[in-house]
Symmetry: C2
Subunit: 505 residues, 2 copies
């Protein structure tokens, strides 16, 4: 099996193969759930640590709330339960018993428990106990957790029944402060996703029918995959007083009057790793931006004669330690020496398929010459793909090298995004014709058949049906509105609002 | 409410109050589950990071496996299901539906799913796919996750239905290698729990009836709480080929013969935080060892005149940054400036109840004199409790100060443990008399009424019943055996094996 051509001919299969060959995740015996393998989990650890630092810098603290939510809690907020009821894992028993050699559920619970699809309801219950006065506000909480949504068509990282995420939950004494928080965290998402995951995004507000169930406003960052489809990469919700009213989060304000608090919630998940793959991977497999790579430099020792082993190992360990002393991107360089019992060429292709940013080969001749064979993943099939670099130079320039790679990966994705937002589609007919095409892989630096359309929307609720029938979505209402007059691309009616249309994951 | 005397008169209630006043955790609306608050979760983050580094240093990588385990997986290993069947959360439905305004579980699953009580069965299934040849071994996996055991008498941190833990799972080509791994990880547990959590432990093997369900051998570290009861702080299991046979983890060995792999598993949990409390807290509340304290130094600015505010804030921020530059205990100093709208004296008592190791107060007079008011949590009620220290001296000696506090906390607990292991109880009658006493708080440096007994055990399975009736357990068979002759403290029969007897959590 080769990834070549597959990306063009069968993009979904290419995706699956990249995940498998990079050993990032796989399907498990537990239906619809995945096993995240170390290379994929290592990216999640990096993503978690980067976000965690930003959340703490913006005043949030980590808590942990129960994953089981009493069913009655969902009865409280009508929109919320409506949004999630169809995809909930329900715990009904607390024991197994052996009946004629077969295990059966036993001891039914008085009240069924829901495995959290999201934690607004149970966290609101805690907030209602903690918040009494305006002096108790704001409450700024984050949680790293697993959540469950019963997806019927699971796909690794993109849609699995269980996934890992972070969910921020905050309460404030004024609507304005809560709205500011919602947008502050959206900006944290944009910053981390662009600067560390190297995924350029569009930023905006969701239309009414795409809002989080129970929210007043949902804001989002939206990325473009290599096939021109959108991936929602993070959302931030202004919940107004909806959850405060249903859970009774009330406080005495500065005027000594009782008032409901204003809450927010915001989350990103392991779905981001799916985004990394569909933004950056290529015909050779995965490409990981250095800032989130579990290992940024992989060293492969070339041991031709057994008597050289000790000298080569000592040399590469010393090289690793020199590199680790460097501190780029706010952290130590992450280095792996691959000592597996395997041919060097096979090791090289393993790490290449995993997308390690820099692979270094070191043999006795290199050591004698004071050189290293350096191969950057991005240049793998180019004439510059093999570089002989003096060891001292390699060590002293590793930070710039990784920063340059990070930038190259981002620029490539940014150029794809910018080139594939059509702004010249002005009529309903042009729009229908554009989306009569199927999405397919867009070559680097090219304009593909289908990408995003930035155009007018009349905002009429009936357009939801039209979108459904065309299998197209409104990704967001961008913050930068032109306010010009035009024709709604769905109904042909006069419209001024600019929105982003596209197919999506 | 005061904690004074409570520790002596009602140790369990003292424990609850310490947890509540330190704001470490609380009961939640989800039955038997807890909300871990930021001060408790911050300790867990530290514990996680320390262990994680040690696991990676010993060659393990983090993975994530599904939390839902198909019921049939438990049918495979008889002892294993026997051990956990009575306390399992069972998911039976995947949807809620609205029936006459009431939400009811709908869409029953073909096969019920168990929320993992531990992951041997599902991880063994993955191992069986990954392992084909001796070249694929060893496989060294760790997972950070939530697990569920349906406790009927929950207690914060010690026994909750959901808790957080780490579980290591490894597979090896020989029994010897797997046994070495089991003991290697036990030693990692001992090291981290003693050196970072400052909890001295006894190390040994569990008797047959206390083994992990499905294990050949279970090893453990056991700590003594302030009331002389034992807390199992970590376990490491040699599973032999039991799970390999039930899940078919087989490989072709070096002689080209098929063979079942040898597996291990090992875990520690948020229970350790309960151990921290019952080892170190006192009449004033929690005491956190610096190595696992979310904040090691808390700075309280004393602002008497509003016009001094800017100068004082600038000064303490500068102090924080100077302290953060220091790198003790393998990490940056963790500093908090408490800017809450609250009286300084109330802030002081808040942090004191939380057990922050060092609390520094800074007012305008201190700044002018170049001094700081330094208060160590351990010395809170002693004449040395208030120290005036020149700022430069405080900053330059903070590492030694924290290291000294860490040592003092450990030594205090170690002295309690050592003084309260009775080795002079030689007969059944003496033993029965000793344990006719109830456990109660043991004053620092004193011998309490009830602690541990190190004495003989004949090993007869019938002694299990005697232990149950006396509500006493055998904590471990220590590695350092005397091999002397004596009388079994339960049956009076001749016996040579030394064991540790005690009541436990």
């Amino acid at each position: 099996m080769t990834l070549k051509n597959l990306r063009k001919d069968n993009y979904p299969e290419w995706y699956q193969n990249v995940v498998a060959e990079a050993e990032m995740a796989e399907n498990s015996a537990s239906p619809g759930c995945m096993v995240i393998k170390s290379w994929g989990y290592g990216m999640w650890e990096r993503i978690r640590d980067i976000f965690d630092e930003k959340f703490k810098e913006t005043g949030h603290e980590n808590y942990y709330f129960p994953m089981f939510i009493p069913l009655s809690f969902f009865q409280k907020e009508a929109d919320h339960v409506e949004g999630f009821a169809k995809e909930m894992a329900v715990v009904t028993h607390s024991r197994l018993e052996n009946k004629d050699g077969k295990l059966k559920p036993a001891s039914p619970l008085d009240e069924p428990l829901i495995v959290r699809p999201t934690s607004e309801t149970i966290i609101a219950d805690s907030f209602s106990k903690w918040i009494k006065s305006y002096r108790d506000l704001p409450v700024l909480v984050n949680q790293w957790a697993n959540v469950v949504r019963w997806e019927m068509r699971p796909r690794l990282f993109l849609r699995t029944r269980e996934f890992l995420w972070q969910e921020g939950h905050t309460a404030h004494s004024t609507a304005q402060e809560a709205e500011e928080e919602t947008l502050r965290m959206l900006e944290v998402y944009r910053e981390v996703v662009e600067d560390y995951l190297a995924m350029p995004v569009l930023v905006g507000r969701k239309p009414e029918h795409e809002k989080f169930p129970g929210a007043i406003d949902t804001y989002c960052i939206e990325a473009m995959m290599q096939d021109g489809k959108a991936l929602q990469a993070g959302t931030s919700h202004f919940l107004g007083q909806n959850f405060a009213k249903s859970a009774n989060i009330s406080f005495v304000n500065k005027n000594n009057q009782p008032e409901y608090a204003y809450t927010t919630s915001w989350g990103v998940s392991t779905r981001l790793i799916g985004g990394l793959i569909m933004n950056h991977a290529d015909d050779e497999g995965m490409v990981v931006p250095p800032a989130v790579a579990p290992y940024q430099v992989v060293i492969i020792p070339l041991i031709k004669k057994e008597e050289d082993r000790a000298a080569i190992i000592a040399y590469v360990e010393n090289l690793r330690n020199e590199l680790k002393g460097k501190m780029p991107l706010g952290d130590k360089i992450r280095v792996k020496i691959d000592l597996r019992d395997k041919k060097p060429v096979d090791k090289f292709w393993d790490w290449s398929k995993k997308g390690a940013p820099v692979i270094v080969e070191v043999g006795m001749r290199d050591i004698e010459g004071g050189n290293l064979m350096v191969r950057e993943r991005l240049k793998i099939n180019t004439p510059e793909g093999k570089e002989i670099v003096a060891k001292e130079v390699f060590v002293s320039t590793i930070e710039e090298r990784l920063a340059t790679i990070q930038k190259q990966i981002f620029e490539r994705a940014k150029s794809r995004l910018e080139q594939n937002i059509r702004t010249d589609i002005k009529t309903k007919e042009q729009f229908a014709e554009y989306f009569s095409n199927s999405n397919e892989w867009i070559e680097d630096g090219k304009v593909g058949k289908v990408g995003f359309v930035r155009g007018k929307w009349c905002g009429d609720p009936q357009t939801e049906e039209i979108l459904k029938s065309m299998k197209i979505t409104i990704r967001c209402i961008p913050f930068d509105q032109s306010n010009s007059e035009g024709e709604c691309l769905l109904t042909g009616k006069p419209a001024t609002m600019d929105v982003i249309y596209s197919r999506c994951y």
